[in-house]
């Protein structure tokens, strides 16, 4: 059943509506049922979650008699952003993921954030699906604030992602959707996978297997589920090396995303197309797995080109 969870009138002949679709067993009382919420589209240029929303529903519908709980699908928290290929909320130039928990008495953007919070709160598990941004590609991973590690890591381990990144607390991140809900006791897993403005079907399918596994654990799904992979887990900031550009230019990668690198391996080159020169050779500072790689090839000095996860936490088989 499609519902509008928050809406507001726009100036010229249009209503901004945030919609969800609730899927639940037919002819059963919702009282006492477990609920999983699939949230995506807070950043309008991140589309990987769109496929997950579609495919998850398709697979549930195929075996709908196995559904034993509530699945709420929120595909577009920032509908104006998705429609206009804009990361933030158009016209306001605000990052929607810095507005939570919102304020029902606040301005339009805060009001919408508060409406979203109210509707999603109380879920037994929430997946907030992001797609990095248009510059970087990420392997399927879940990022967890260390403050909520105890509750979230066991859930994340069931989600069929490759990597769980437990990071330090940051005051700035207190205004995110995930932090705001985690703080009031609704567990939210932040998924990052793929790249902005594109779909990576294999990553979507991988995550959907994980969502079915989570649903089974929570008692929302009674059907068969695929075996999930054992994720790499990093809790130490020193586990991750950052590759930042030493010069402005064109980044030409020499290895693929997910590559296992030895210290000193060539990751790519920054080149100058005007003069045909190599400005820098980007090398792995230590052995590990390239779990982030630059997708958008133009770099400024400082731009992130990749991240390497230290070999010792990679669980290579």
């Amino acid at each position: 059943m499609v519902e509008v969870i928050a809406s507001v009138g726009l100036p010229i002949d249009e209503e901004l509506m945030i919609k969800k679709n609730r899927i639940m067993p037919v002819c059963k009382d919702a009282g006492g049922m477990k609920r999983i919420s699939i949230v995506t589209g807070i950043h309008g240029d991140e589309l990987e979650g769109q496929y997950v929303c579609y495919e998850l529903q398709r697979r549930i519908a195929k075996d709908s008699d196995k559904l034993a709980g509530i699945v709420d699908i929120y595909p577009a928290m920032n509908p104006l952003g998705i429609d206009s290929i804009t990361r933030g909320i158009p016209a306001f130039d605000l990052d929607m993921n810095r507005l939570f928990p919102g304020n029902i008495e606040g301005n339009m953007t805060e009001y919408l954030a508060a409406g979203i919070m109210e509707d999603v709160a109380g879920s037994d598990c929430v997946l907030d699906i992001h797609a990095s941004n248009i510059y970087l590609t990420e392997i399927p991973q879940i990022r967890i604030n260390e403050m909520h590690e105890k509750i979230l890591v066991p859930l994340a381990e069931k989600s069929n992602v490759d990597f769980i990144w437990v990071h330090g607390a940051s005051t700035v991140l207190e205004s995110t959707f995930a932090h705001s809900l985690n703080t009031i006791g609704t567990p939210v897993l932040v998924v990052e996978m793929g790249v902005g403005m594109r779909l990576t079907k294999t990553y979507g399918d991988q995550l959907i297997d994980g969502i079915f596994n989570l649903m089974k654990e929570l008692g929302i799904w009674t059907g068969e589920v695929a075996e999930v992979r054992k994720p790499m887990i990093s809790r130490n900031p020193d586990d991750v090396s950052y590759l930042n550009a030493s010069a402005s230019g064109l980044f030409v990668p020499e290895v693929s995303h997910g590559a296992r690198l030895a210290a000193g391996d060539l990751v790519g080159r920054i080149v100058d197309p005007l003069c045909g020169r190599v400005l820098d050779e980007v090398k792995a500072p230590r052995a590990g797995m390239l779990f982030t790689i630059r997708e958008y090839p133009i770099v400024d000095e400082g731009s992130l080109m990749g991240r390497i996860l230290n070999e010792e936490v990679c669980n290579y088989e």
Binding site: V8, G9, L10, P11, I12, D13, R87, G88, A91, F92, D93, L94, R98, G106, N107, M108, Y111, N133, Y135, T171, V172, L173, E174, S175, Y242, N244, A247, S248, G249, L250, D272, L274, I298, D300, E301, G302, S303, L304
Partner: protein
């Protein structure tokens, strides 16, 4: 005057990105003034240019006191101004959400780091800044209630209004907040404009800064004293919100005195020109902020009133 480049990044096809500073006087790092960090903050650069002109004159006349150095950085983000984009030209990040910066981080973190290293040791910091909603303010000075900057220091600007505000999570990466963490007494100066130049607003800003410098013993100048500045907590400002969206027709101006019940603005049906809603003053007071764009959204605080004492 010493004009110097504080930070530079080589451009790929654009000219190099430069942050330029103007130093006046010498010795103790007394005050640093920063103009725009966002691409639409044109008035903020203009205010700095007027101040630079004034400081040149003061320096030539020997009116900058001994062992006092003043640094003015008109723009920490010329790239975004030149392409008329509010945030960073490539990745749309906000430099004023990157402080104190990181020298090995992403581009805007590096800019913030280089700028902050240059300006973190100043005794006083003044930033010309803007509000995220389009609108006209009554000129005022603001500071964050972090316990370091005080209203007594803010009074040195000689401005009629001083606004104190509590720190919100996103403030912790702003220049103003980080200045205070590193023991700089920091203020934000709001004039009445952002994307347009207001000569009057810039003039008021120059006088406010001159007052501050004179009252802090940095320059020789006959400072104007505001006898009764009004110190306001930002939560005291009363928001007047729209219920409807449509054309915004203001009926009052920033700074105007109003009585409770005065019509402040109409929201018009954009196709039929009928009045969807009239906003009224809930209290006697002064219009402190008023929206200045032709359209408004629903649930938006388009007017803020400062109630009479």
């Amino acid at each position: 005057m010493n004009k110097k480049i504080i930070f530079e990044i080589k451009g790929m096809y654009r000219d190099d990105f430069r942050v330029t500073g103007y130093e006046f006087g010498s010795g103790d790092k007394s005050v640093c003034i920063v103009g725009n960090s966002r691409g639409n903050e044109v008035q903020q650069i203009y205010c700095c240019s007027q101040l630079i002109k004034k400081m040149k004159q003061l320096e030539e006349e020997g009116r900058i006191k001994k062992n006092r150095k003043i640094l003015i950085i008109p723009s920490i983000n010329p790239y975004s101004v030149n392409i008329q984009k509010r945030f960073w030209s490539t990745d749309n990040t906000d430099i004023n959400r990157m402080f104190p910066g990181y020298d090995k981080g992403e581009t805007t973190q590096r800019i913030a780091d280089a700028v902050f290293r240059e300006i973190m040791d100043y005794q006083y910091g003044i930033q010309f800044t803007s509000f995220y909603n389009p609108g006209d303010f009554v000129p005022h000075v603001r500071y964050m209630k972090e316990g370091f900057t005080t209203s007594e220091e803010a009074k040195k600007f000689g401005m009629k209004y001083i606004v104190e505000r509590s720190v919100r999570p996103y403030d912790t990466a702003t220049l103003n907040y980080n200045w205070q963490v590193w023991d700089t007494t920091a203020f934000s100066l709001y004039t009445n404009a952002t994307e347009k130049i207001s000569n009057k607003g810039a003039g008021q800003a120059v006088i406010a800064v001159m007052n501050f410098l004179a009252n802090s013993g940095i320059i020789k100048y006959s400072a104007i004293e505001e006898k009764k500045p009004r110190i306001i907590d930002d939560t005291e400002l009363i928001s007047v919100r729209t219920e409807k969206s449509g054309f915004f027709e203001p009926l009052v101006k920033a700074g105007e005195k109003v009585e409770a019940g005065t019509p402040l603005a109409n929201i018009l049906n954009p196709y039929e020109a009928t009045i969807l809603e009239t906003l009224y003053a809930p209290v006697d007071g002064t219009i402190f902020f008023i929206h200045n764009a032709p359209l408004t959204y629903a649930s938006t605080a388009v007017i803020k009133i400062l109630g009479d004492d």
